[in-house]
Amino acid sequence: MGDHHHHDHDHDHAPIEEVAAAPIEDRILETAIRELLIEKGVISAEDVHRQIDIVDSRNPALGARVVARAWTDPDFKERLLAHPLKTIQDTFGMDMTTPLELVVLENTPEVHNVVVCTLCSCYPRMLLGIPPAWYKAVDYRSRVVREPRAVLAEFGVTLPDAQEVRVSDSTADLRFLVLPARPEGTEGWSEEALAAIVTRDCMIGTGLPDPAVKRDEAA
Protein backbone atom coordinates (compact mmCIF):
# COMPACT_ATOMS: atom_id res chain seq x y z
CA MET A 1 0.00 0.00 0.00
CA GLY A 2 1.75 3.15 -1.02
CA ASP A 3 0.60 6.59 -1.73
CA HIS A 4 -2.93 7.28 -2.77
CA HIS A 5 -2.85 9.84 -5.50
CA HIS A 6 -5.91 10.17 -7.61
CA HIS A 7 -5.36 11.38 -11.08
CA ASP A 8 -8.40 13.05 -12.49
CA HIS A 9 -6.44 15.92 -13.90
CA ASP A 10 -5.09 16.22 -17.37
CA HIS A 11 -1.89 14.40 -17.99
CA ASP A 12 0.95 14.77 -20.40
CA HIS A 13 1.93 12.07 -22.80
CA ALA A 14 5.41 11.44 -21.54
CA PRO A 15 6.63 7.91 -22.18
CA ILE A 16 6.41 5.34 -19.40
CA GLU A 17 9.78 5.61 -17.67
CA GLU A 18 11.57 4.44 -14.59
CA VAL A 19 10.99 6.47 -11.43
CA ALA A 20 13.17 7.19 -8.44
CA ALA A 21 13.23 4.97 -5.36
CA ALA A 22 11.06 5.69 -2.32
CA PRO A 23 11.44 9.22 -0.97
CA ILE A 24 14.21 9.57 1.56
CA GLU A 25 11.71 10.35 4.37
CA ASP A 26 9.91 7.05 3.77
CA ARG A 27 13.15 5.12 3.91
CA ILE A 28 14.16 6.79 7.16
CA LEU A 29 10.75 5.99 8.63
CA GLU A 30 11.01 2.34 7.51
CA THR A 31 14.45 1.99 9.05
CA ALA A 32 13.31 3.59 12.32
CA ILE A 33 10.25 1.33 12.64
CA ARG A 34 12.20 -1.80 11.70
CA GLU A 35 14.94 -1.06 14.23
CA LEU A 36 12.41 -0.33 16.95
CA LEU A 37 10.51 -3.58 16.27
CA ILE A 38 13.76 -5.53 16.46
CA GLU A 39 14.91 -3.71 19.59
CA LYS A 40 11.56 -4.41 21.32
CA GLY A 41 11.73 -8.07 20.33
CA VAL A 42 8.57 -7.98 18.19
CA ILE A 43 10.50 -9.35 15.21
CA SER A 44 14.10 -10.38 14.75
CA ALA A 45 16.62 -9.24 12.17
CA GLU A 46 16.58 -12.86 10.99
CA ASP A 47 12.81 -12.61 10.36
CA VAL A 48 13.35 -9.53 8.25
CA HIS A 49 16.04 -11.15 6.13
CA ARG A 50 14.12 -14.39 5.74
CA GLN A 51 11.18 -12.39 4.40
CA ILE A 52 13.45 -10.49 2.02
CA ASP A 53 14.82 -13.83 0.79
CA ILE A 54 11.30 -15.08 0.12
CA VAL A 55 10.38 -11.93 -1.78
CA ASP A 56 13.60 -12.06 -3.79
CA SER A 57 13.09 -15.73 -4.65
CA ARG A 58 9.90 -14.92 -6.55
CA ASN A 59 10.43 -13.91 -10.14
CA PRO A 60 8.60 -14.08 -13.49
CA ALA A 61 10.05 -17.52 -14.20
CA LEU A 62 7.47 -18.92 -11.76
CA GLY A 63 4.60 -17.37 -13.66
CA ALA A 64 6.13 -18.46 -16.97
CA ARG A 65 6.15 -22.11 -15.86
CA VAL A 66 2.47 -21.81 -15.01
CA VAL A 67 1.64 -20.26 -18.39
CA ALA A 68 3.65 -22.87 -20.33
CA ARG A 69 1.87 -25.68 -18.50
CA ALA A 70 -1.50 -24.10 -19.27
CA TRP A 71 -0.53 -23.98 -22.96
CA THR A 72 0.33 -27.66 -23.07
CA ASP A 73 -2.16 -29.23 -20.66
CA PRO A 74 -5.85 -28.32 -21.17
CA ASP A 75 -6.89 -30.08 -17.98
CA PHE A 76 -4.36 -28.05 -15.98
CA LYS A 77 -5.59 -24.86 -17.64
CA GLU A 78 -9.16 -25.60 -16.66
CA ARG A 79 -8.19 -26.20 -13.04
CA LEU A 80 -5.90 -23.14 -13.07
CA LEU A 81 -8.73 -20.86 -14.18
CA ALA A 82 -11.11 -22.35 -11.59
CA HIS A 83 -8.75 -22.56 -8.58
CA PRO A 84 -5.53 -20.70 -9.41
CA LEU A 85 -3.49 -20.76 -6.19
CA LYS A 86 -4.47 -24.28 -5.13
CA THR A 87 -3.74 -25.66 -8.60
CA ILE A 88 -0.34 -23.95 -8.73
CA GLN A 89 0.59 -25.15 -5.25
CA ASP A 90 -0.55 -28.73 -5.93
CA THR A 91 1.15 -28.92 -9.33
CA PHE A 92 4.45 -27.15 -8.73
CA GLY A 93 4.86 -27.43 -4.98
CA MET A 94 5.28 -23.65 -4.63
CA ASP A 95 4.00 -22.33 -1.33
CA MET A 96 1.07 -20.13 -2.32
CA THR A 97 -0.10 -19.32 1.19
CA THR A 98 -1.41 -15.77 1.03
CA PRO A 99 -4.50 -13.94 2.24
CA LEU A 100 -4.99 -12.73 -1.33
CA GLU A 101 -6.89 -14.36 -4.14
CA LEU A 102 -5.40 -14.85 -7.58
CA VAL A 103 -7.46 -14.50 -10.73
CA VAL A 104 -6.03 -15.77 -14.01
CA LEU A 105 -7.23 -13.66 -16.93
CA GLU A 106 -7.12 -15.60 -20.18
CA ASN A 107 -6.47 -13.62 -23.34
CA THR A 108 -8.72 -14.60 -26.21
CA PRO A 109 -9.28 -13.29 -29.75
CA GLU A 110 -12.14 -11.24 -28.23
CA VAL A 111 -10.44 -9.83 -25.12
CA HIS A 112 -6.88 -8.75 -24.31
CA ASN A 113 -6.27 -8.24 -20.59
CA VAL A 114 -3.96 -5.68 -18.97
CA VAL A 115 -3.32 -5.31 -15.24
CA VAL A 116 -2.75 -2.15 -13.21
CA CYS A 117 -3.21 -0.90 -9.68
CA THR A 118 -4.30 2.71 -9.91
CA LEU A 119 -4.34 3.10 -6.12
CA CYS A 120 -0.83 1.87 -5.34
CA SER A 121 1.13 -1.07 -6.76
CA CYS A 122 -0.82 -4.29 -6.12
CA TYR A 123 0.75 -7.02 -8.21
CA PRO A 124 0.80 -10.85 -8.33
CA ARG A 125 4.04 -10.96 -6.37
CA MET A 126 3.54 -14.61 -5.47
CA LEU A 127 4.18 -15.48 -9.12
CA LEU A 128 6.07 -12.54 -10.60
CA GLY A 129 8.13 -11.17 -7.70
CA ILE A 130 8.67 -7.45 -7.29
CA PRO A 131 6.88 -5.22 -9.81
CA PRO A 132 8.94 -3.21 -12.30
CA ALA A 133 9.41 0.50 -11.55
CA TRP A 134 7.16 1.57 -14.42
CA TYR A 135 4.28 -0.47 -12.96
CA LYS A 136 4.43 1.70 -9.84
CA ALA A 137 4.89 4.93 -11.78
CA VAL A 138 2.12 7.52 -11.89
CA ASP A 139 2.36 7.66 -15.70
CA TYR A 140 1.42 4.04 -16.17
CA ARG A 141 -1.15 3.91 -13.37
CA SER A 142 -3.04 7.00 -14.48
CA ARG A 143 -2.84 6.51 -18.23
CA VAL A 144 -3.47 2.81 -18.82
CA VAL A 145 -7.06 3.02 -17.59
CA ARG A 146 -7.71 6.11 -19.67
CA GLU A 147 -5.96 5.38 -22.96
CA PRO A 148 -4.98 1.72 -22.84
CA ARG A 149 -4.20 1.39 -26.53
CA ALA A 150 -1.87 4.38 -26.55
CA VAL A 151 0.00 2.96 -23.56
CA LEU A 152 0.17 -0.51 -25.12
CA ALA A 153 1.53 1.01 -28.32
CA GLU A 154 4.41 2.45 -26.28
CA PHE A 155 5.16 -1.09 -25.15
CA GLY A 156 5.13 -2.14 -28.81
CA VAL A 157 1.77 -3.87 -28.59
CA THR A 158 -0.82 -3.07 -31.24
CA LEU A 159 -4.08 -4.98 -31.15
CA PRO A 160 -6.94 -5.36 -33.64
CA ASP A 161 -9.70 -2.76 -33.23
CA ALA A 162 -12.24 -5.55 -32.76
CA GLN A 163 -10.38 -7.03 -29.79
CA GLU A 164 -11.55 -5.48 -26.51
CA VAL A 165 -8.78 -4.22 -24.26
CA ARG A 166 -9.91 -4.87 -20.70
CA VAL A 167 -7.82 -3.20 -18.02
CA SER A 168 -8.14 -4.89 -14.64
CA ASP A 169 -7.57 -2.41 -11.83
CA SER A 170 -6.35 -4.28 -8.71
CA THR A 171 -8.41 -2.27 -6.27
CA ALA A 172 -9.05 -4.81 -3.53
CA ASP A 173 -8.28 -8.37 -2.41
CA LEU A 174 -7.64 -9.93 -5.83
CA ARG A 175 -4.41 -10.14 -7.78
CA PHE A 176 -4.33 -10.76 -11.50
CA LEU A 177 -2.12 -12.79 -13.79
CA VAL A 178 -2.65 -12.57 -17.53
CA LEU A 179 -2.58 -15.88 -19.37
CA PRO A 180 -1.42 -14.87 -22.84
CA ALA A 181 -2.44 -16.77 -25.94
CA ARG A 182 0.09 -19.30 -27.20
CA PRO A 183 1.70 -17.77 -30.27
CA GLU A 184 1.71 -19.42 -33.66
CA GLY A 185 4.97 -21.01 -34.63
CA THR A 186 5.45 -22.81 -31.32
CA GLU A 187 3.83 -26.09 -32.29
CA GLY A 188 5.72 -29.03 -30.86
CA TRP A 189 7.84 -26.89 -28.51
CA SER A 190 8.78 -28.32 -25.11
CA GLU A 191 7.25 -26.80 -21.99
CA GLU A 192 10.67 -25.42 -21.08
CA ALA A 193 11.10 -23.73 -24.45
CA LEU A 194 7.60 -22.28 -24.18
CA ALA A 195 8.25 -20.94 -20.68
CA ALA A 196 11.31 -19.11 -21.98
CA ILE A 197 9.21 -16.89 -24.27
CA VAL A 198 6.75 -15.91 -21.53
CA THR A 199 8.07 -12.54 -20.41
CA ARG A 200 6.98 -10.64 -17.34
CA ASP A 201 5.19 -8.10 -19.54
CA CYS A 202 3.18 -10.90 -21.21
CA MET A 203 1.78 -11.76 -17.79
CA ILE A 204 0.93 -8.10 -17.01
CA GLY A 205 -0.63 -7.72 -20.45
CA THR A 206 1.80 -5.09 -21.71
CA GLY A 207 3.57 -7.62 -23.91
CA LEU A 208 2.81 -10.51 -26.22
CA PRO A 209 4.86 -13.69 -26.31
CA ASP A 210 7.19 -13.67 -29.29
CA PRO A 211 8.72 -16.98 -30.36
CA ALA A 212 11.88 -15.05 -31.27
CA VAL A 213 12.34 -13.35 -27.87
CA LYS A 214 13.18 -15.36 -24.79
CA ARG A 215 12.37 -14.15 -21.29
CA ASP A 216 15.90 -13.55 -20.00
CA GLU A 217 16.82 -11.56 -23.08
CA ALA A 218 13.73 -9.37 -22.69
CA ALA A 219 14.23 -8.68 -18.97
Binding site: V103, L119, D161, R166, S168, T171, A172
Partner: protein, 107 residues
Protein backbone atom coordinates in the same frame (compact mmCIF):
# COMPACT_ATOMS: atom_id res chain seq x y z
CA UNK B 1 -16.90 -18.34 -0.68
CA UNK B 2 -18.34 -17.06 2.58
CA UNK B 3 -22.06 -17.54 3.17
CA UNK B 4 -23.19 -13.95 3.48
CA UNK B 5 -26.07 -12.23 1.71
CA UNK B 6 -24.94 -11.03 -1.71
CA UNK B 7 -27.06 -8.20 -3.01
CA UNK B 8 -25.87 -8.45 -6.62
CA UNK B 9 -25.25 -11.26 -9.08
CA UNK B 10 -23.37 -11.51 -12.38
CA UNK B 11 -25.08 -9.51 -15.10
CA UNK B 12 -26.61 -6.98 -12.72
CA UNK B 13 -26.30 -3.37 -13.79
CA UNK B 14 -24.88 -1.25 -10.98
CA UNK B 15 -23.57 2.23 -10.34
CA UNK B 16 -20.68 3.21 -8.11
CA UNK B 17 -21.85 5.49 -5.31
CA UNK B 18 -20.88 9.16 -5.09
CA UNK B 19 -20.35 9.22 -1.37
CA UNK B 20 -17.68 10.68 0.87
CA UNK B 21 -14.51 8.64 0.54
CA UNK B 22 -13.27 6.76 3.55
CA UNK B 23 -9.83 7.75 4.82
CA UNK B 24 -8.43 4.58 3.27
CA UNK B 25 -10.61 3.97 0.25
CA UNK B 26 -10.22 1.18 -2.30
CA UNK B 27 -12.84 2.59 -4.67
CA UNK B 28 -10.96 4.59 -7.30
CA UNK B 29 -12.17 8.15 -7.70
CA UNK B 30 -12.37 7.85 -11.50
CA UNK B 31 -15.10 5.22 -11.17
CA UNK B 32 -17.32 6.99 -8.66
CA UNK B 33 -20.76 7.64 -10.09
CA UNK B 34 -20.07 5.44 -13.13
CA UNK B 35 -22.37 2.65 -14.34
CA UNK B 36 -21.09 -0.88 -14.83
CA UNK B 37 -22.05 -4.53 -14.97
CA UNK B 38 -21.24 -7.15 -12.34
CA UNK B 39 -18.91 -9.72 -13.94
CA UNK B 40 -18.53 -11.99 -10.92
CA UNK B 41 -19.07 -12.27 -7.21
CA UNK B 42 -15.63 -12.73 -5.73
CA UNK B 43 -16.42 -13.37 -2.08
CA UNK B 44 -16.64 -11.36 1.10
CA UNK B 45 -13.69 -9.65 2.74
CA UNK B 46 -12.90 -7.59 5.77
CA UNK B 47 -13.40 -3.87 5.22
CA UNK B 48 -10.06 -2.43 4.04
CA UNK B 49 -10.98 1.09 5.13
CA UNK B 50 -11.11 -0.21 8.72
CA UNK B 51 -8.24 -2.72 8.44
CA UNK B 52 -5.98 0.17 7.45
CA UNK B 53 -6.50 1.59 10.95
CA UNK B 54 -5.96 -1.70 12.82
CA UNK B 55 -9.70 -2.35 13.27
CA UNK B 56 -11.05 -5.87 12.74
CA UNK B 57 -12.97 -4.70 9.66
CA UNK B 58 -15.94 -6.91 10.47
CA UNK B 59 -18.53 -7.80 9.37
CA UNK B 60 -17.08 -8.85 6.03
CA UNK B 61 -18.35 -7.07 2.94
CA UNK B 62 -19.23 -8.73 -0.38
CA UNK B 63 -16.85 -7.86 -3.19
CA UNK B 64 -17.67 -7.85 -6.90
CA UNK B 65 -15.69 -7.61 -10.13
CA UNK B 66 -17.45 -4.87 -12.04
CA UNK B 67 -16.83 -4.07 -15.70
CA UNK B 68 -17.09 -0.48 -16.92
CA UNK B 69 -17.18 0.54 -20.57
CA UNK B 70 -14.59 3.15 -21.49
CA UNK B 71 -17.47 5.10 -23.06
CA UNK B 72 -19.20 5.30 -19.66
CA UNK B 73 -16.08 6.21 -17.67
CA UNK B 74 -14.45 9.02 -19.62
CA UNK B 75 -15.94 12.13 -21.09
CA UNK B 76 -15.22 12.47 -24.76
CA UNK B 77 -14.81 8.74 -25.36
CA UNK B 78 -17.40 7.08 -27.56
CA UNK B 79 -17.50 3.93 -29.60
CA UNK B 80 -14.57 2.39 -27.72
CA UNK B 81 -14.57 -1.41 -27.55
CA UNK B 82 -12.46 -1.21 -24.39
CA UNK B 83 -13.28 -1.51 -20.70
CA UNK B 84 -11.97 -1.30 -17.17
CA UNK B 85 -12.70 -4.04 -14.64
CA UNK B 86 -12.38 -3.15 -10.96
CA UNK B 87 -13.18 -4.83 -7.67
CA UNK B 88 -15.81 -2.86 -5.78
CA UNK B 89 -17.13 -3.55 -2.28
CA UNK B 90 -20.88 -3.80 -1.93
CA UNK B 91 -21.25 -0.68 0.23
CA UNK B 92 -19.98 1.31 -2.77
CA UNK B 93 -22.54 -0.11 -5.22
CA UNK B 94 -26.11 0.85 -6.06
CA UNK B 95 -28.57 -0.69 -8.48
CA UNK B 96 -28.30 1.20 -11.79
CA UNK B 97 -32.03 1.67 -12.24
CA UNK B 98 -31.70 5.40 -12.67
CA UNK B 99 -33.81 6.34 -9.67
CA UNK B 100 -30.88 6.59 -7.30
CA UNK B 101 -28.28 9.26 -7.91
CA UNK B 102 -25.78 7.73 -5.56
CA UNK B 103 -26.35 9.96 -2.56
CA UNK B 104 -27.06 6.87 -0.53
CA UNK B 105 -26.85 6.34 3.19
CA UNK B 106 -26.52 2.56 3.24
CA UNK B 107 -23.27 0.89 4.21
Amino acid sequence: MLEVPYRYKPGDRVRVAQQPAERHCRTPSYLRGKPGVVMSVTGAYRNPSLLAFHKPGLPVIPLYRVCFRQDDVWEGVSGSPDSVAADIYEHWLLPADGSDTGESSHG
